[in-house]
Amino acid sequence: MSTLELNLHPILPDAEEQMLRETVYAITSSYGQAYTRSLREEDRPPTELWDELAGKGYMGVNIPEEYGGGGLGMLALSAVGEELAAAGCPLLLIVVSPAIAGSILTKHGTEEQKERWLRGIGDGTTKLAFGITEPDAGTNSHNLSTSLKPSEDGGYLLTGQKTYISGVEDADAVLVVARGRNDDGSLGLPSLVIVDVDAPGFTRQEIPMAVKGADKQWTLFFENVEVEEERLIGGFNGGLGPIFDGLNPERIMGAAISTGVGRRALDQGAQYAREREVWGKPIATHQGVAHPLAESKIELELARLMTRKAASLYDAGAKGAGEASNMAKYAAAEAGISCVDNAIQAHGGNGFALEYGLTDMYWGVRVARTAPVSREMVLNYVAEHSLGLPKSY
């Protein structure tokens, strides 16, 4: 798509997008927040919800039609992510599998890799997690030390550790970022490999988290895990470009989910403020209660608009997708936090009772200020790349 056609992207959702949103919201609402909560209590993945949405084509809306997806790009997938969250079931697996792994495979996979992996991501029957973060290389990906060493039989051996990796319990494989081990023992450029979750030498440990979402967080351990050549995307030492093509979709989805949670919290906060009477009239008649909710609403709509811009730029392959994705993630995290926090405040003590479900949402939006990229790193990016200020780190 050319940048000329970009101008034709509507700011307002078209009839199809509206029906897509309505349908995803309706299906997800029939599960709702109670379902998400039950998953953690029963220690199981959101299989029923995922399969119902995947069965109707909603989990691979961004994947090209020729590989069984909807062919509608990140604009549509971000709509799915937002509606899932707004209906009480934010899913991180939709970030890592169709958004990150799906986008990378679409742009960089070989024909065989697309047949083997992308087709399944397109119809939602294959799920890929994504592993980049390491204990000693948080934001600084130059410090990654997970290594990929050519082995004598023509394959590779993967060794290292990853942490805060989402949804591995429900994934078929993990897309792992590693660095090529050169002959002299030094580490080279990044490589991207697909590793089955049950590969020998691959173990994992759950990280207990405050976020009570549908997906778990894991630390992954790779000890000489055998990887075949066909599992490398972009080839040995050729992972850098593919990785970057996965990071913007990740930010766009992070933004979409934050705005979805924010929408839910704000709707609930506003409804409570309309109905709750303390001094003989609804508390929303007091501007001290109404104005914070109104401010959150403005922040939310601005963030939704920026998320839409970021997704449109990404889909168009246009310049500025990186900047817009960063800004959308930043704005959406702040808006999401503001919505949930102000909804809690409007609820008084009830804001903290499990019955009202707002505490379930809090850590979900709060984590978006920190991940997938921290607020501070977004500010660094904007300072340096948008404003031409000196690099600070």
Binding site: A15, M19, G57
Partner: protein, 264 residues
């Protein structure tokens, strides 16, 4: 068999309904959607088509309404209808139930369906009567509140919900059946169905195309006049019986009902 499903565009359920005091009609501005009760009629048609007991050639969604009603038709075909017909004409504006039923019957005559299905009510007007009016014009038998349909070649066996229980009624085709919302759980459209909706045939028809007598439709052709609109009387505050001792609570409820002669 050919099935026509009558559908309607109504204000979205999330929009608070209010009367326009000037036109004395429902304010239909704002977000609109396919009448949720009609989705049960489409689903019933799809279940007959997929059930295999009879051969259904096509399911046609039919509506009367302004230009925007096209969206309701797109939704209807995304839920499974094969094509749709849109009766739209300025002459039809402000038609009452009787005039609307006449106009819809004229469209249906041009389609010659074996079965006409519709939802039990619209979510805006809530008249529950359009099926009977249409059936009268088509001179077909009509059933309301149907919650189960068994299909045979030229007749249906229907179970209908009544105040006193359930009726089982055999009806010869062609017929007009309005279905209750207990009849089924409507499916959700797939992404493919949504994206394909605009590609399905949609015929737009004016009054002249289906031989509608203009003097029988619109505000002037309607046989009812709204003289005044009034808000419903305010409900009296209810009586709350605290459940401290369940036996005692039950006794209090029984006494309350007995006092009002609500139980024998």
């Amino acid at each position: 068999m050919k099935i026509c499903v009558l559908v309607k565009e109504v204000p979205d359920a999330a929009v608070e309904k209010r009367m326009d005091s000037n036109s004395m009609r429902l304010d239909r501005s704002g977000e609109k959607n396919l009448n949720p009760f009609d989705t049960h009629a489409i689903e019933a048609a799809m279940q007959i088509k997929e059930g295999g007991a009879v051969d259904v050639e096509e399911v046609v969604a039919v509506t009367m309404g302004p230009e925007s009603a096209v969206r309701a038709l797109h939704k209807a075909v995304s839920l499974g209808a094969d094509r749709s017909v849109h009766l739209t004409d300025d002459a039809l504006a402000d038609s009452d139930v009787s005039a609307t039923g006449y106009a819809l019957a004229q469209v249906l005559k041009s389609e010659s369906p074996d079965l006409v299905l519709l939802g039990q009510q619209s979510d805006d007007g809530e008249c529950y009567t359009i099926g009977a009016v249409v059936a009268d014009h088509l001179e077909m038998p009509s059933l309301t509140q149907v919650i189960k349909i068994d299909t045979a070649a030229d007749k249906l066996t229907c179970e209908r919900q009544a105040e006193y229980g359930y009726d089982t009624v055999e009806v010869t085709l062609p017929a007009v059946i309005s279905v209750g919302d207990a009849i089924n759980e409507p499916r959700y459209p797939s992404l493919k169905a949504i994206m394909g909706a605009k590609k399905k045939q949609l015929d737009s028809k004016g009054t002249g195309d289906v031989e509608i007598d203009a003097s029988k439709v619109g505000a002037d052709g309607s046989r009812t006049r709204v003289l005044a609109i009034n808000p419903p009387p305010a409900k009296q505050a209810g009586e709350i019986i605290e459940d401290e001792d369940t036996n005692e609570t039950v006794e209090k409820i029984v006494a309350w009902l007995d006092e009002r002669k609500l139980i024998a």
